[in-house]
């Protein structure tokens, strides 16, 4: 449930769908072609939401309150090349809002520069060719979306399994099952498979909301996303069984599961790239179970990269699975003896 809520929330904040940098009040007092062109291109840039109705006085008040990002005023007769007509567009900004200020000023400067070139009939000689590290168009929401898939798998498996199993034990459901001819292995396999089925639904919902609701960019092989998602779910379930095995009560299992999952959520790269951590810390957290998993799924989803090219991530995940399975198969028992 939480990961789905997070998907929607992050979608609204970061998917770049809404006019992310806020509202700009535009007052165009000029009737010239140039001023109309400016008005049109500002509207079409979609960087800002353009509000042309609010009065200049009201807008100043809104700016002080931080409700809008800036005011752009085009003086009368701007763009009229006659001498004495105003040559400058007036911008009022809230100094606290650095990011949107830079964007608005950048936009204005670019417009004015190209206008100057045009007026003087000059072709620009030098320019900047922009290239992203990635040929594709990615934003923070795409990064977080994959993180949220990992988080969903981790929470539902670690907390889901450990709490359910210790509750079943506390309620003697596990013991009751051992009085029937059902084999313990059959019971465990059924539990694991039914949860994996739920995991597939979870991954699907998050991807659907992300891609269709908020235009997230998924470039890679969707089938591989599921395969590695399931691999991660198996890992997290084995952690869940281990926690259920070592904790005596349901509340102990709850505490332990939270203590494992929450730090991992922040340290293993759900919301932030872990290479932003101090290098000593990064060299530790990159081995946490969630970290290699997210590296692989991000690689698949965002860069169409094959996780098999650099198998170290697969090795880390498999090593965790083996370790957790060994501990839980020794420790986890349906009955008391």
């Amino acid at each position: 449930m939480f990961p789905i809520m997070f998907t929607v929330i992050f979608g609204f904040f970061f998917s770049g769908e809404s006019s992310g940098s806020g509202t700009v009040v535009l007052k165009n007092y000029s009737q010239t072609e140039v001023s109309k062109l400016f008005q049109k291109s500002l509207n079409e840039s979609k960087v800002f939401k353009i509000d042309e109705k609010t009065s200049a006085l009201e807008a100043r008040d809104l700016l002080k309150k931080g409700k809008i990002s800036g005011i752009v005023e085009i003086p009368q007769k701007f763009g009229d090349l006659a001498p004495g007509s105003p040559k400058k567009i007036k911008v009022t900004l809230d100094p606290a809002n650095l990011q949107s200020n830079a964007m608005l000023l950048g936009f204005l400067n670019q417009f004015i520069t190209s206008l100057n070139f045009k007026v003087n009939n000059v072709q620009p000689v030098f320019g900047v060719q922009q290239e992203k590290t990635n040929s594709s168009d990615l934003n923070y929401f795409d990064f977080v979306l994959v993180g949220l898939i990992g988080m969903a798998l981790m929470n539902s498996s670690i907390q889901g399994v450990s709490i359910a199993m210790s509750r079943y034990r506390e309620n003697k459901i596990l013991k009751r099952i051992t009085t029937t001819p059902l084999k313990p292995a059959t019971f465990i396999i059924a539990e694991v498979l039914s949860r994996l089925l739920i995991n597939i639904v979870q991954i699907s919902i998050i991807l659907l909301i992300g891609v269709y609701g908020f235009h997230a960019h998924i470039y890679g092989n969707v089938f591989l996303i599921y395969v590695f998602g399931i691999l991660g779910a198996i890992l997290f379930q084995s952690i869940g069984f281990t926690i259920a095995a070592v904790s005596k009560t349901t509340s102990a299992a709850e505490g332990m599961a939270t203590a494992v999952a929450i730090p991992m959520m922040f340290l293993a790269g759900v919301f932030f790239p872990i290479d932003q951590l101090p290098s000593w810390l990064e060299s530790i957290v990159k081995f946490l179970p969630l970290a290699p998993l997210l590296r692989m799924i991000r690689g698949i989803a965002l860069e169409s990269a094959s996780p098999f090219l650099d198998p170290i991530n697969i090795v880390i995940v498999l090593a965790w699975i083996v370790v957790m399975l060994i501990i839980s198969s020794y420790k986890f028992r349906l009955s008391d003896e």
Binding site: N171, I173, R176, T179, P181, S335, D336
Partner: protein, 308 residues
């Protein structure tokens, strides 16, 4: 009668603690057999060893001709187990739980049939959490019948229930026996064991201290007769004469209420004559109860507190 369970010199040790200390008994087909004792006397441990849930430290068990340590799966198909204070899935309805558990057996009864047997058919779509204490316990018992077992194990089936709900359960347990099933139950309620069980083994600190048919067990008391009486004034002379005929004591330290235990009919008759002279406000003559025997055997009264 055919013996369906044989237990020989059964021992269960946990470290230094001997929970079950070399007990032996047989259970006959079609009877209600009761293991009676205080909390911690070893009743549940004994039951769970027969069910195959715990491994005996030593001794042998045979149930329906099978050994629980080596032929557990054969046994599991033919027995029904109700665990002490067991719960079921909270997110499944009663019918779903019965169908689920039924699915664990090669042959099983229909959930509707089972629920009708305990008058819970109206609750088929309810959750366990919505049931009253008595309904929960009835459900828990009927859930142990999904595979139409030959032997039913009930671990303290009535603990924590009010008297009416308990009586309802006694009726249910008798019905189960009348279907030809063998019932083994544990209890710490004397009255329950006395009314319900055909045979009783009294356990104390891991040992069986007495075992017989219920009425014979009670008759084996050294003081099978009992007089209860209330007197306003105490006549010392008559009291001394009474004391020579049997054991007399005031009940819970009250100054006017007494209980007298007698070993034979003759002394009973003599005592009744003496009592007439005392002109008691009220008096009752009765047979010793199972509880009296229990106190006689163990030197203490059974704890009525609930199993924590």
């Amino acid at each position: 009668m055919e013996s369906i369970i044989q237990v020989n010199n059964l021992v269960k040790k946990y470290g230094r603690l001997t929970a079950v200390d070399s007990i032996s008994f047989n259970v006959q087909r079609g009877e209600i057999f009761g293991l009676l004792g205080e909390n911690g006397a070893g009743k549940s441990t004994t039951l769970e060893m027969i069910e195959g849930l715990r491994r005996p430290t030593s001794g042998s068990i045979s149930i329906l001709g099978h050994n629980p340590t080596s032929e557990l799966n054969m046994i599991k198909e033919k027995i029904g187990v109700q665990l002490q204070s067991s719960a079921y899935y909270e997110h499944l309805t009663l019918a779903e739980i019965l169908d689920l558990f039924g699915g664990f057996y090669p042959k099983h009864l229909k959930s509707g049939e089972l629920l009708a047997m305990v008058k819970l058919e109206a609750k088929a779509k309810s959750f366990v959490g919505k049931l009253s204490g008595g309904q929960k316990q009835r459900f828990s018992i009927v859930a142990s019948l999904v595979n139409d077992p030959e032997v039913v194990f009930l671990d303290e089936p009535t603990t924590g229930l009010d008297p009416i709900a308990r009586r309802n359960l006694w009726g249910l347990i008798t019905t189960i026996r009348n279907q030809g099933k063998t019932v083994i139950l544990t209890t710490h309620y004397m009255e329950e064991a006395e009314i319900l069980c055909d045979r009783i083994a009294i356990m104390e600190k891991g040992k069986i201290v007495a075992m017989d048919q219920t009425h014979r067990l009670i008759a084996s008391s050294k003081h099978p007769f009992k007089i209860n009486f209330l007197v306003g004034k105490i006549n010392k002379e008559i009291f001394q004469n009474l004391a020579e005929l049997g054991k007399i004591k005031s009940i819970l330290g009250k100054s006017d209420h007494f209980e007298m235990r007698l070993s034979n009919q003759d002394n009973l008759n003599k005592s009744l004559k003496l009592l007439q002279d005392l002109n008691p406000d009220s008096f009752t003559v009765s047979r010793a109860s199972l509880e009296d025997l229990f106190i006689e055997l163990t030197g203490k009264s059974i704890t009525q507190e609930e199993n924590a």
